[in-house]
Amino acid sequence: MADEKQNGKRWVGASLPRKEESRLLRGLGKFADDIKLREMLYLRFVRSPYAHARIVSVDTSAAEALPGVACVLTGAEIAAQTQPFIEIGPGPAQNIKDYPLAVTRARYQGEPVAAVVADSAALADDAAELVQVEYEALDPVMDAEDALTDKSILHEGAATNQVWNGVWEFGDVEQAFRDAAYVVNIDRMHFHRFSSTPLENNVVIGQWDPKDEHIYYQCNNSFPSFAVQFLSSHLGVPIDRIRVQTADIGGSFGIKITSYPQMAVCALASKKAGGRPVKWVESRSEHMVSSAHGNERTFRKTRVALDRDGVITAIDSHHIDDCGAYPRYEPLGCVIWSQVFPGVYRFKNARIDFTQAVTNKCPVGPNRGYSRMQHLWFLERVVDICAHQIGIPADEMRLKNYVRPEEFPYLTPNGCIYDSGNYPKMLEVGKKLIGWDDWKAKQAAARAEGRLIGIGIGTTLDSGTNNFGQSQIVNPYAPFSGNSQGANCKLDIYGEVVVAVGSCPQGQGHETTAAQVVADVLGIHPDKITVRTGFDTERNVHTGFSGTYASQFAVSGLSAVHGAAQKLKAEMKRLAGHVLETTEDDLEFGSGEQGPEVRAKSTGKSINYWGLANIVNVNSAVLPEEMYDVTLNCRYVWRAPFKVPDKERKYGQLTLTYASQLHIAVMEVDRETFIPKILDYVAVDDCGTVINPPIVEGQVYGATAHGIGAALMESCVYDEVGNMLTSTFSDYIPITAVNMPKVKYGHVCTPSPHSYSGAKGMGEGGAAPIHTISAALQDALYASGVFIHDSFNNADSIFRVLAKKEGGQLAELVKLEKRAQANGATK
């Protein structure tokens, strides 16, 4: 018998082909839109063409009269039979009333106002055209800073557009400014709105079944255990009566966390239609205008203190976050950025005043790099522009300010613990891969010819496995803290190894990596392990945190799987020891002629998994009474060892692991077309121990494409009255094979002391390309007097700044004060 290892090595760490491939390559993936049910109805939303309007009347009679239309739902009808969704924000934000259809007011263009349900999708389209809504246009508020003036209020009940405000202050900021050799003042920076737009749109099939008064969902929501918590209180249905199932999901990147309002409408429409299942398939344009966008953030009146060597000693800044029309998952974003409070840097003194406001734009939601990337971009801009202002080379500036390898685990000023990392090493690997010195020489030569070439570094963090206790920093009454994930590992009746876990993957290969972990525990081949596809509340493995979001599966998901497999193994040992009449120490696990088995080393006798499962399940009279607790069906809940943070001080461990990324880009801005072009690109990643190298590499490439797309091509643009100008893919232009440069991939590994395997959560990528491209463009355009103050830079915006001098002028936005202490500074 053999312990089935990969060339004598563990399965964890092996480049195992993905188990998911067989069905996906054949076109046999199980996506939500592929499902058709008996008597199924199709739902279409009627949407507001106005960004801000009073709803005067909704006339549904013509639509209802159309043959084949089952029913039409309006916001008023929903408000009469449900509670508004839970608001996470404190104070006035508690008075925001959020229903899945607009009731008296539409607050963004594309907000659903009514829902039409018919026998076919085409009929529902026809009927939706017949719904007559009368609007009275109101003043739209399109900018968060304007919103805070409260001239036009979005939510009457709240009486203010401010959702949240709080100040993070650590160290002695004023003293640091008094002692500074340099102070850099930056008036304004802006992180733009974009969305990672998964290729598969949102899909919900909902059925309010009158037979058992349960609600059944098949959908592609990516955080179902959160969705059911919102739906249960909204619909007034006990949570155990809401079943959510997902199967294959065509990408989410966080965005699909936000489909619970549409889930509510499908259930209510099904109820009104007598319990027939109702399917809603979002179109791309609907997705663009009304699913969710990433947070937009403005950074005002930033002051940076530096010592004479260019080491940053303090940062003081005001951040204003725009969450769109409804806070929904927000205002969690108001605290989540503070998981990476100092970024990768060592400064100890900082004050950040953080405010969030509603505007008449699509609500925001978690989007790959959620809330942290905005802050990390801000820090990267700060470090980068300070280096330029003082005249320190980009790489040296980073090395002066990085947290040092020997300082890990590193305690941040706000009580977070960075588990491990080696940023200088990543820089070294990145410089080597890109050919730093070569490019420096080429750049100098090209500049002499008048070409605009820049080299930029972006260093970032991907914090994973949240402590939900940080929600209490936002709202002290929030009933959330810690983090957990559940998994089940069992032998089925004939001895099959079956694993279920509370995640709902969207391409991250969970079926494969979970099988690798279990294979190592049991000493069998991963092919002999079935991992259930998708999520199901009735599998009874999930906890209230289950889902797939926030870079954590390698830690929370696989720790749960590992725990469940260990538990199963312990039970198998007890049972096998009894059957084989030997001690547990004498047993070994592996595969023999009769498949996976447990064997007594002393006698050579063995029992295979069928034999073990047989005794427990269908032959239990032979089971001794003292083993009645053996089920070979083991549920394990892994918990992150968190405490509730100090809410007053906003201090505590907010995340368990910190994967890091360092990217380097070489860019050129064409002098005539102003098109920014990537000439060379390197991505270096450190996510600790790697479970499956090609899967990790794939995540790095994917996150890199999102970042490059966001930096150069993708922006959710609104005009001044709130029309969304990028409401189709043809306007939004997601990055294609033609625009995506070749990426040189590098890898550094600093195992995490915070996870059983040394792995860190990864996948979001910390938006490294956005920081990197901003830095490269800054390097290219610094001498032209340009300050890269926005995270989005395409040919048009560069043309405006460079040729027309519209905004982005260094001299206006950035001021360097040199103090007496700066004399003799090393340059």
């Binding site: 390559l25 054949r26 076109g27 046999l28 085409a122 990408g251 391409g507 996150a703 995506m740």
Partner: protein, 167 residues
């Protein structure tokens, strides 16, 4: 009151076509798109929809030997045509070499874009047995993938081309 009433019935039109070697005949509304026809009438759900402006290529199928976006083709336009969809690539349960190459090169994550990319690759390799990097990028310019950043897709297509030459 709305000024337009919908016509009582829309006259249906007969469509006969061959998909993956099998003949089908259906009566459909003239407005039905080919992708809807494949997915809803024939239950061939491997062909996907990702956009509504002919951008993403999730719906790519081969029609009479040329790749088309089935979201931008009416079902009635395919009357009499021969189609190949992702479901028709494997032979006797064995993956097509292009499918195998995508698997071997980790050319997919969520797999939603994959059917369209496989067909675009099929079309490319039918016309060009030794594509260079530029040919590959151009061939899939109309196929959006949101997960992979395209790097492994480039490798997969190169691998499929190399394998085909080697075979």
């Amino acid at each position: 009151m709305p000024e337009t009433a919908m016509p009582e019935t829309i006259e249906k039109i007969s469509v006969t076509l061959k998909v993956n070697g099998k003949e089908y005949q259906r009566l459909v509304e003239p407005r039905m798109l080919l992708v809807e026809f494949l997915r809803e009438e024939l239950d061939l759900t491997g062909t996907h929809v990702g956009c509504d402006t002919t951008y993403c290529g999730a719906c790519t199928v081969l029609m009479n030997g040329a790749s088309v976006k089935s979201c931008t083709t009416f079902a009635v336009q395919a009357d009499g045509a021969e189609l190949l969809t992702v479901e028709g690539l494997a032979h006797n349960g064995e993956l097509h070499p292009i499918q195998k190459a995508f698997g071997d090169a980790y050319g997919l994550q969520c797999g939603y874009c994959t059917p369209g990319l496989l067909i675009s690759t099929y079309q490319l390799l039918e016309h060009n047995t030794s594509p260079n990097e530029k040919d590959i990028r151009k061939a899939i310019a109309g196929n959006t993938c949101r997960c992979t950043g395209y790097q492994n897709i480039f490798k997969a297509i190169q691998l499929a081309a190399d394998n085909r030459k080697g075979a």
